[in-house]
């Protein structure tokens, strides 16, 4: 790459935070450069300092931080720049795309107003000219109806549209560098694929550089020309994406790549489950959120039938809003069933004759054989309770155990989920996300349930942590032989765990069958699109997949 194309040059950049009178180094000696038309990906797990690095370029860090080293934009030093000069750089030369467009856009102003505001801040234009330009930008980010989007408030747009609107705002001043901080993490896979397409085409059209910050190796493989792998504030490896994906040198990079679930690497399902006795079956299940005031009733789940056999893992996949979580919550009795039959073992719990209701005594028996693992390990444990008490709670409530039995079982469970038994007196905030999720699993298994319902148990975790939790999950499932309904949006994770897969869309199951059939030979259009949109952590393979996906879209 020639020097003339070089836009940003970062040399020996270090960032310290003063915390409680101690100095903590968040980023240590980062050096990299970015050229025109290039995508540089900074990858790493949470806390690795990847966002901090990017934020420091335009001094967006909190006041207890100190940046040292050098970062030059077109030869202009950014470190230690005055606020007045920084304002000219921010937005105009360096623009940001944030993870969560709902919080990054101001909810009380229209999209159009916010873009016009950004334009008038940097250019001396009339309101009319700015509006024209804003409409142009909204068209550029391929929003279906720019006029309408211009007058819309953020909440009136879908997640993907919001992200497009934010990108429109970011590129409004023709920035030289676009810093995208986890731009697609909050989005569904199919929407993510579209946004990545958009960013790729914009980069070429605007001839700017992109610094992509992400933890998702699939996204990196899809987008990046070069990449930097960060761990604990240090760049452990850098190079072209092909180099790093194909021949990672640093052990951390190797480990990171190995822990990414890769679609298509799951072992073929064993044939058990097909003939096995059914543990739970739901037939023609309909779940509605009742009407509230003027808001009409919403049918979240519409006529689905699933069956889970003994020791079988059924993966339930779908995008946000497809109703998969609703199914899980209804099956543990947290939501009322509108109509349909729910049978556990030989006993019918909800059916037409019973008015689709589960009566109180039945519900107790029903839940006795169920465990549930929630998505957010931060919210699923009572912050005021030591985790041992949380694990013991289901046993105490069942009143079937003596104190000594509970005591012994808690220790046994902690052992099973590979946590030191001394952790029982710790509070949730003293544990990491992965440890908390292990506690959540231990609690769900406390009563030795026949069926475990896991609602996105790993989606809030880092890849390497996710890998270890999934491994634990597999081991436990094998040892204890419980059946499992595994709800996830991540096809690769489902591929790893499940025997059978059901794909949901708009409250219906579009396709259901053995794993092999769904993943390798999907019949339905939606399943095909969903599979095609999943980025694979391998640049070459991903390029092929991208072409295939575009073909599929026509």
């Amino acid at each position: 790459m020639s020097d003339s194309k070089k836009i940003l040059e970062v040399k020996n950049l270090s960032i310290d935070f003063a915390i409680d009178g101690n100095i903590a180094r968040a980023v240590d000696g980062m050096s990299f450069e970015v050229s025109r038309g290039e995508v540089l990906a900074i990858v790493g797990e949470s806390g690795s300092g990847k966002s901090t690095t990017a934020m420091s370029l335009v001094s967006l860090l909190p006041r207890n931080s100190r940046t040292t080293g050098s970062a030059t934009l077109h030869g202009q030093q950014l470190v230690g720049m005055s606020i007045k000069e920084l304002r000219k750089v921010r937005g105009k030369q360096v623009a940001f795309i944030f993870q969560e467009p709902m919080t990054a856009l101001n909810p009380v102003f229209t999209i159009g107003f916010q873009i016009v505001e950004a334009l008038r801040e940097h250019f001396n234009t009339t309101r009319a000219a700015a509006k024209e330009r804003a409409l142009e930008l909204l068209a550029m980010v391929e929003l279906p109806d720019p006029e309408k989007a211009f007058d819309s408030y953020p909440h009136q747009l879908s997640g993907g549209q919001r992200q497009r609107a934010m990108i429109a705002q970011s590129i409004s001043c023709d920035p030289d560098i676009l810093i995208a901080d986890e731009p697609t993490t909050a989005l569904d896979v199919t929407v993510q694929a579209e946004i990545l397409d958009l960013m790729r085409s914009l980069k070429d059209r605007l001839d700017s550089a992109i610094i992509l910050i992400t933890h998702d190796m699939g996204v990196v493989a899809d987008m990046a020309d070069r990449m930097i792998v960060m761990k604990d504030g240090i760049a452990v490896e850098s190079g072209t994406a092909d180099q790093i994906f194909n021949a990672p040198r640093h052990p951390y990079t190797q480990r990171l790549l190995a822990s990414v679930p890769h679609l298509g690497t799951g072992k073929p399902a064993e044939t058990i489950g097909k003939q096995a006795k059914s543990v739970l079956s739901a037939k023609n299940l309909v779940i509605e959120y009742p009407k509230r005031g003027r808001v009409p009733a919403f049918r979240a789940v519409d006529d689905i039938s699933i069956e889970i056999g003994e020791g079988e893992v059924l993966g339930l996949v779908g995008e946000s809003g497809s109703g998969k979580t609703t199914v899980g919550r209804a099956l543990v009795g947290l939501l009322p069933v509108h109509s349909g039959t729910v049978t556990m073992g030989d006993k019918v719990f909800a059916s037409e004759e019973r008015g689709f209701k589960i009566n109180k005594d039945d519900l107790r028996e029903f839940r006795r054989n169920l465990g549930i693992v929630f998505q957010d390990p931060g919210s699923s444990l009572n912050p005021r309770w030591p985790v041992g008490q949380s694990i013991a709670e289901p046993m105490e409530l069942s009143k079937e155990f003596t104190a000594a039995q509970i005591e012994a079982r808690v220790i046994e469970l902690l052992d099973q989920v590979q946590l030191p038994t001394s952790y029982r007196n710790r509070y949730p905030h003293e544990l990491s996300g992965g440890q908390r999720q292990r506690v959540g699993i231990a609690r769900a298994l406390a009563l030795r349930p026949k069926l475990l319902i896991a609602d996105e148990p790993t989606s809030a975790l880092d890849v390497s942590v996710q890998a270890s939790v999934l491994e634990l999950f597999q081991d436990l499932q094998k040892d204890l032989g419980f059946a499992c309904l595994f709800i996830s949006h991540d096809l690769a994770v489902v591929d790893l765990l499940s025997d059978r897969i059901a794909v949901m869309q708009h409250g219906r199951i579009v396709e259901q069958g053995p794993k092999e059939q769904i993943l390798r030979n999907p019949q339905e259009e939606y399943t095909k699109r969903l599979l095609a949109a999943v980025p694979v952590p391998n640049p070459e393979e991903q390029k092929l997949r991208r072409l295939k996906r575009l073909e599929l879209q026509g």
């Binding site: 935070f17 003063a18 915390i19 409680d20 009178g21 806390g47 909190p62 006041r63 207890n64 100190r66 919550r329 543990v332 009795g333 947290l334 519900l363 107790r364 839940r367 006795r368 169920l370 465990g371 549930i372 929630f374 998505q375 957010d376 390990p377 931060g378 919210s379 699923s380 444990l381 009572n382 912050p383 005021r384 309770w385 030591p386 041992g388 008490q389 949380s390 013991a392 709670e393 289901p394 409530l397 069942s398 104190a403 000594a404 005591e407 808690v410 220790i411 038994t421 001394s422 029982r424 007196n425 509070y427 949730p428 905030h429 990491s432 959540g440 609690r443 009563l447």
Partner: protein, 361 residues
């Protein structure tokens, strides 16, 4: 080494794995908040001092009557004398012309020779009575109604909140004055009346806490394990809203002293010949410049009570909050330990982040 429930010996490692009950943990942490512990002692001492020194009156209408046997004035009701040689109502000769403090009357005397120490002690009895009854009543009502409204929502919520709204729009001062007056009977009734109208604020806060906490997944997890509404309210949600409740209660209790003072100032509430701290200040406000002891001593005790209550509240809140850091005694020993160590604010699902330094480095 110690013995566990089964009589087996437990080693140190095992001891670390023995589950502690919530109560034990909270007491352990409360003890670390030195100032709160000191405040408990100070408050207890003050209470004992107030009630033993000048004696107590049980029942009665707050007026003075002539004793049939001794033919001296005494309070109406059952009067038990204390160990202090003076009482708060007997008029006597002044040691000094202006009534300044002497060995005989350490807090001084007022213009008609009544002992100020005795009057302050009696006033403190009344103020403490009002404070604690208001604090207890309004917290109990507020927590119960707020919990019910927040947990059950729907019509329960509507009914309770409309009642709360009605009480909120009537000024407490006016309501307290009218009710206290019409029922009569001094501090006790005044306190009960105030307690009955002071709960809506707390009820609203508790309801808000419940509305947000009941959506958390640990509540769902408990529901799935078959927990009853009672279990969820008392074991899961209330302990998580204890901070709000404790802080609000201490504020209410301090406010109760002030309301009582205001009412007494307006001529309602506790009226002469009975005494309250607020009423003493009010009575002697003109003496502020010339005879400050008439003013400062009751004022000092108001501050003392309010401070103690606030510190205890502070200690309780920290003790109930497990995110409080456990060992923070390594540096800057005394002051830090006085305030129970530096508090770390962290969201329930966030990694702990330290406090931000003020200056730009």
């Amino acid at each position: 080494m110690s013995l566990d429930a089964q009589g087996r010996e437990t080693t140190i490692e095992q001891e670390a794995t023995i589950g502690l009950s919530q109560g034990q943990v909270i007491w352990k942490r409360f003890k670390k908040h030195k100032l709160a512990v000191i405040s408990i002692f100070v408050l207890a001492t003050t209470i004992i001092l107030a009630f033993t020194s000048v004696g107590i009156v049980i029942g009665g209408n707050g007026q003075l009557v002539v004793d049939k046997e001794t033919l001296l004035l005494r309070p109406d009701g059952w009067y038990i004398k204390g160990w202090w040689q003076w009482d708060w109502f007997t008029v006597g000769a002044k040691d000094l012309v202006n009534g300044a403090p002497t060995w005989n009357h350490p807090f001084g005397q007022d213009d008609i020779g009544r002992d100020i120490f005795a009057r302050v002690m009696r006033g403190m009895q009344q103020s403490l009575l009002v404070t604690f009854i208001v604090g207890f009543l309004s917290t109990a009502i507020g927590v119960v109604l707020g919990s019910l409204a927040g947990y059950y929502r729907k019509w329960t919520d509507s009914v309770i909140m409309r009642v709360a709204d009605i009480i909120l729009i009537v000024p407490v001062l006016v309501l307290g004055a009218v009710l206290g007056r019409s029922v009569g009977g001094g501090a006790l009734f005044l306190a009960i009346m105030l307690g009955l109208v002071a709960w809506p604020g707390l009820a609203r806060l508790v309801r808000g806490e419940f509305l947000s906490l009941r959506e958390r997944e640990f509540v769902d997890a408990a529901v799935v394990s078959g927990a009853s509404a009672r279990h969820i309210i008392f074991k899961h949600i209330l302990p998580n809203s204890i901070g709000v409740i404790v802080v609000n209660t201490t504020l209410l209790m301090s406010a109760a002293i002030l309301i009582e003072t205001s009412l007494s100032f307006l001529g309602f509430g506790i009226t002469p010949p009975d005494v309250s701290l607020g009423q003493i200040i009010n009575e002697y406000q003109t003496a502020f410049q010339t005879r400050p002891w008439l003013f400062w001593y009751p004022g000092l005790f108001i501050i003392l009570i309010a401070l103690c209550i606030n510190f205890i509240g502070d200690g309780l809140r920290d003790a109930f909050d497990p995110r409080q850091r456990r060992d923070d005694f390594t540096k800057e020993g005394f002051f830090k330990s006085l305030f129970g160590g530096k508090k770390i604010e962290a969201d329930h699902d966030e990694v702990i982040v330290g406090t931000t330094q003020r200056e730009n480095i």
